[in-house]
């Protein structure tokens, strides 16, 4: 289909997206819940809720708390597990002309390897996104994503099992994100996504209790956007593989911040809760911006931040 006006198509390695607007894992479930509000065919890609080998129950409530311009969540990676995802959720998504990206999580390297293998063979999955913000059982529960060697080893182990593109979703809580990004790139990642939620907590001062059952959680929403834009900019300048920007994207201008900073695409998370039509509004807004700026293709503005 050819649409008049600026071209929104973008590429993440070999994967072609109709536009640079995807959903972020955990904020769009498995797609069906949004069908009353969004035509999934209009999205750049659907990134589904993180999948583990076995189903997970998640954390005790309360699981979310609102904070200024953001929210802290400790869902605990509740998900249906690989088997039910393949049987019940993926067939629905296959009916649409939209790339499906599956976010995966594990406790040890082997979990990721098995997930990547099964998802590559399933058919209808366009890319795998490794969530490295999970506790690594082997290293005493420290998350994979804070250690460049752990990231390198994980990606290197998963790479041969994944016959489809492999993205690595980084945690923002590291001293030097570029070292971690390089570790992923050297091990064969096709793209990095930056990033996951920022570790955080909120306290109910009247009851003197944590607001979350899990005590700590992850901060998302507009509150984290400036932090993530910077990380994205640092990575885009240093890596050869594409960078995908995530964090507090609420409108087209927010998406444009990431694109100008060097991201080839963005993911929309918490904003889906604020307005289920956010993703398609952003696509519309990008189209308008490009027309106004007289830019022919969205690719032409990627990394075009003026720094004189």
């Amino acid at each position: 289909m050819t649409t008049p006006g600026p071209l929104l198509e973008t590429r993440i390695g070999d994967l072609v997206l109709k536009n640079p607007v995807m959903t972020a894992s955990g904020t769009f479930a498995y797609g069906a819940e949004f069908a009353p509000y969004v035509d999934l065919n209009d999205l750049g890609a659907v990134v589904v809720k993180g999948i583990s080998l076995e189903p997970r129950q998640g954390n005790p409530p309360p699981r979310t708390a609102e904070t200024p311009c953001g929210m802290v969540n400790a869902i605990g990676l509740e998900n249906v597990g690989l088997e039910r995802f393949l049987a019940d959720k993926l067939p629905y998504l296959r009916r649409f002309d939209v790339p499906v990206v599956v976010n995966v999580l594990g406790r040890q390297v082997d979990d990721y390897v098995r997930l990547a293998g099964a998802l590559s063979e399933a058919g209808g999955v366009s890319a795998i996104e490794l969530n490295v913000s999970c506790p690594n059982v082997k290293s005493g529960g420290q998350t994979f994503g804070v250690d460049p060697e752990a990231v390198n080893a994980l990606v290197a182990a998963v790479r041969p099992a994944a016959s489809i593109p492999l993205w690595v979703k980084l945690t923002p809580l590291v001293t030097d994100i570029v070292i971690i990004g390089r570790a992923a790139q050297e091990a064969g990642a096709d793209a990095v996504c930056v990033g996951n939620t920022f570790p955080a907590m909120a306290i109910d001062v009247h009851r003197r209790k944590p607001k979350l059952g899990n005590v700590v959680g992850g901060l998302s929403g507009p509150a984290i956007r400036p932090i993530m834009v910077r990380l994205c900019w640092l990575l885009a300048r240093s890596l050869d593989i594409p960078v995908i920007g995530i964090g507090g994207v609420m409108c087209a201008d927010d998406a444009l911040e990431y694109l100008l900073a060097g991201a080839r695409a963005v993911q929309v998370g918490t904003a889906n809760f604020v307005d289920p039509r956010t993703t398609v509004s952003i696509v519309e807004g990008l189209r308008k911006y490009l027309a106004e700026q007289g830019v022919g293709r969205v690719d032409e503005i990627v990394g075009q931040l003026r720094l004189e």
């Binding site: 955990g26 904020t27 769009f28 479930a29 819940e33 949004f34 009353p36 509000y37 809720k49 129950q57 998640g58 005790p60 409530p61 309360p62 699981r63 979310t64 708390a65 609102e66 200024p68 311009c69 953001g70 929210m71 969540n73 869902i75 509740e78 929403g221 507009p222 609420m250 918490t270 889906n272 809760f273 604020v274 307005d275 289920p276 039509r277």
Partner: protein, 260 residues
């Protein structure tokens, strides 16, 4: 499920921090069932960020009414919106109360703001089970908090009131009123909404008299759509999601021991 910008027709304070918000929302109005809720965007900016869940207090004539109490930032913000403005509305969401004949007596048990879904429920019972006796057991801390009584009177609902300070109705808890005042030989049903301790205390009362009871629960909700997986309550079979599996549950479904 609809997502729309609804016109505010009017907003009226009802005392004790309660507000009655009337919105133009024909689709939501015609589809809504008692016990269902809507997610309301209280402002256009990002603080507060998330929508707030509010029960449908009443629906009809292309309109819905919400009855809410100001408890924090979001409800405070909403209370300052007025006629001619619009608010984002998502709904109707969740399951509702089951209303089905035969029904001889419906006991609507409300604690505080838990009275919100009861008016729409009373109206629906009047329509579906015209001969049913309707009793509202309504408890609050003070008499001033017993809001919207006239709306229930207009539907010929019998009233049993209780306040903790004794300023109106019986002094004490509403569950004490329910105990002993229901006939267990007829088709009686309990519909309840209120604070967790009230719902928990209702358990033995309903069980003693073998009265089927449905309760509407609250949880922190980010999406209201079954997406974020945040709104869980512990049940006897693991976690249930209040926005999707509820908010109305059979009284014996939640695992009351783990709740505080």
């Amino acid at each position: 499920m609809f997502s729309l910008e609804a016109n505010i027709i009017r907003q009226t304070p009802c005392g004790a921090g309660f507000y009655l918000l009337e919105l133009e929302a024909p689709d939501v109005s015609s589809r809504a069932a008692p016990g269902q809720f809507v997610m309301v965007r209280v402002g256009d900016d990002y603080d507060p960020l998330l929508r707030r869940p509010l029960s449908v207090h009443d629906a009809g004539d292309g309109r819905i009414r919400l009855l809410y109490r100001v408890v924090g930032k979001g409800t405070g913000r909403l209370s300052r919106r007025g006629e001619g403005e619009r608010v984002g509305l998502l709904g109707p969401l969740g399951n509702g109360f089951e209303v089905r004949p035969p029904l001889d007596t419906a006991a609507l048990v409300a604690g505080g703001r838990g009275v919100a879904p009861m008016l729409f429920l009373a109206r629906r019972i009047r329509r579906e089970c015209p001969s049913a006796r309707l009793i509202l057991f309504f408890g609050a801390r003070t008499g001033e908090e017993l809001v919207r009584l006239e709306a229930f009177e207009n539907l010929n609902v019998e009233m049993r009131l209780a306040t903790e300070d004794g300023s109106k109705g019986t002094k004490g808890l509403v569950t004490q009123l329910v105990r002993g005042s229901l006939l267990s030989d007829a088709e009686v049903r309990i519909y309840a909404c209120g604070p967790m301790p009230m719902l928990k205390a209702l358990g033995p009362v309903a069980a003693e008299q073998s009265i089927p009871a449905q309760v509407s629960l609250e949880a922190h909700m980010s999406c209201g759509l079954g997406v974020c997986r945040g709104c869980v309550v512990k049940t006897k079979n693991g976690y249930a999601h209040v926005c999707q599996d509820g908010p109305v549950f059979p009284l014996d479904a939640p695992d009351w021991e783990v709740r505080t």
